[in-house]
């Protein structure tokens, strides 16, 4: 019997097979760090008198806490500043590469890795951040870890792990106009639930996935964790190789040839058997939004706010009741009638150049609705530079939006970019948890296209709701 892609990557990184119920020891090719989940790990090393085993496989960037305004001034929030300073001290002391605020390569860790060409097929990638699943888009085994594991990887460049189960998510058919990678993943999470992927590595397969760009694939893999999965992955192909080639850390010459030869073997064998399979037809998809307080509480934009009675399970009814109360929504209200206060365009889910281009194509020549605040936060400083070269910043500013510096920003509100209590957002980020974007804030997760159309109309909208068809979608 053949093996799945996940199983091949596992075998390829096996340092030692666990015996008698012990976990396997897995080698880690790339370890990314940021300021929030690493200070206690470095402190642990210091206390134990340990070194970073492989500084040359480790990289750090500042993203979670960093402001998106006045980045040339000292960080105003004292605790944020201390945490960022601590990362600088730690990386300096342990010899780890860092891209600090103000550096052209600073940005959200999951945008920076691929952009530098440090993420490529066939790797194991970890970071003290659950959205590390993003890097699975390259055909790598990439997953988030806790701070104890961050310390473990710093000290040993390995992790003791039990094999994950495998789940195939087959997305066939052609994605309709106006539906995006974000809508695919929101629909998958709504289908399998926030715990549906627990214990699994998801492998996204099928024509609709193959037809996505690398950035679209990253959006999908990014939110695997929202389905509870440990990781998500997509087998590499020409699209992947093309994306990696020529990036600063991409292999060159004979190394490139050897790498591509190996990468071409990275696919699930035809006779391999997944532990579970899920099927979805892309042709049935339409713009998707979340209405509740977990990412599984999502429905097509064309639907209405559900009622708790619509759910079969008691725990789902209870969850829906709590969510509707928190979100201030009445069952039966068409989603398109929901008025939004803030539109957030950014995050490791949808803060890449293609996301900004897609939104700008809709916003060009238009003005924001009076009730809307539009925050555009590029995923990295390089994305910001690229957008400025293309004139996208002018489009956002002319529209009435704010053009910010790079970081995680309002996705999790650790910096000053937060919602006020009861303020409602349409957000291209990944989590609609209670208080995620600011205490009492209400989040609807959406695609960049829905975010842009919503900023124009002031209520949850898709590009089809706009008066004249946007040129980008013609």
């Amino acid at each position: 019997m053949g093996t799945t892609l996940a199983e091949k990557l596992w075998a390829n990184h096996l340092v030692k097979k666990g015996e008698g119920g012990a976990p396997d020891l897995i080698y880690i090719d790339l370890h990314m760090c940021h300021e929030v989940t690493s200070p206690q790990a470095f402190e642990g090393l210091r206390i134990a008198g340990r070194k970073v085993r492989r500084p040359d496989l480790t990289i750090a960037t500042e993203d979670h806490n960093t402001p998106t305004l006045d980045i040339d001034l000292p960080i105003a929030d004292e605790t944020s500043r201390k945490q960022v300073d601590k990362l600088r001290e730690n990386t300096n002391e342990f010899g780890v590469r860092i891209h600090s605020l103000g550096d052209a390569d600073q940005g959200i860790v999951h945008v920076v890795g691929p952009q530098l060409g440090l993420t490529m097929p066939g790797m194991t990638v970890v970071c003290g951040d659950s959205h590390t699943s993003t890097h699975g888009a390259f055909g790598s085994l990439a997953f988030g870890i806790g701070t104890s594991e961050v310390e473990h990887v710093l000290a040993t460049q390995t992790l003791p792990l039990k094999p994950f189960k495998t789940m195939a998510i087959n997305v066939d058919g052609e994605l309709p106009k106006g539906a995006t990678a974000k809508d695919i993943i929101l629909a998958i999470i709504a289908k399998i639930g926030t715990g549906g992927g627990a214990g699994y590595v998801l492998e996204y397969r099928g024509d609709a996935i193959r037809n996505l760009s690398m950035e679209g694939r990253m959006t999908i893999c990014n939110m695997s964790i929202e389905a509870g999965a440990r990781a998500g992955m997509i087998a590499p192909d020409e699209t992947t190789f093309e994306y990696v080639k020529g990036r600063p850390h991409a292999p060159e010459g004979a190394d490139w040839d050897a790498a591509v030869e190996f990468w071409k073997t990275l696919k699930t064998d035809d006779d391999a058997v997944f532990d579970t399979e899920v099927n979805l037809n892309a042709a049935d998809l339409e713009p998707f939004i979340t209405w509740g307080t977990n990412p599984g509480q999502g429905l097509p934009l064309s639907a209405n706010v559900p009622s708790p009675e619509d759910f079969a399970e008691e725990s789902d009814r209870e969850a829906a009741k709590n969510a509707l109360e928190y979100m201030g929504l009445t069952p039966g209200t068409p989603f398109r009638d929901i008025t939004i206060d803030t539109v957030f365009l950014g995050s490791c889910t949808n803060g890449r150049i293609e996301d900004l281009r897609a939104a700008a194509a809709i916003l060009q020549g238009r003005k924001k609705a009076d009730n809307i605040r539009l925050l555009v936060v590029p995923g990295s400083a390089r994305v910001r530079l690229q957008a400025e070269r293309e004139g996208l910043d002018k489009i956002f500013l002319d529209f009435g939006g704010e053009w910010r510096n790079a970081g995680c920003s309002m996705c999790l509100g650790m910096n000053p970019d937060q919602l006020k209590p009861q303020e409602r957002s349409a957000s291209t980020s990944n989590r609609n948890f209670e208080g995620r974007q600011g205490k009492g804030g209400r989040t609807h997760l959406v695609s960049p296209l829905v975010a842009a159309a919503t900023a124009v109309r002031g209520t949850l909208s898709s590009p089809d709701d706009l008066d004249d068809a946007p040129s980008a979608l013609a």
Binding site: D56, S130, S148, H152, T158
Partner: protein, 212 residues
Amino acid sequence: MEKFTTHTGVGVPLRRSNVDTDQIIPAVYLKRITRTGFEDALFAAWRGDPEFILNKPEYTHGSVLVAGPDFGTGSSREHAVWALKDYGFKVVLASRYADIFRGNSGKQGLVTGVVSQENIELLWKLLETEPGKEITVSLEDRTVTCGELTVPFEIDDYVRWRLMEGLDDIGLTLRDEEAITAFEATRESWRPKTLPAKTLPKEEIVAARPVD
């Protein structure tokens, strides 16, 4: 790490599913650079509500949390485990957990037992009928006892062994250092290294300013 064999303490019925790590500890508390002192941050958004379970005097000193399914979803923040531990929790019982949260718990000596939802409902009823009632969790027998009721819980064999022995993961792995070194010698030259650093040419980043 302290060895764990059995624990008896007040059970706290938390009747909620999908308690994500943003609820266990909101992001604003993650800016601290210490490993302890997170007790005030636990369930911070809910602690302001006088009706919240931990604000009821009978449950305030609880040490066994009995929660709904899909506990610990979302962010990988280990701070969620530290906050639970710093508050005084030794054990969490639920029918399903998020993987990362459960892994983090195992590293930090917080026992996470999988109990069927049916038995969780029974425990909730007992703990609500008699607030302040104690629960005994035996890691050795993998059982939870509350009054007359004894139900089993599941936990990974290896995690259980490590918790009972109080062993540190890094120390265990370093016993295999030779195997790690041997593996490193086989890694292909195309695999990327972060050092020496390569980047596109440096460019100046203009700071965005607040709008009026």
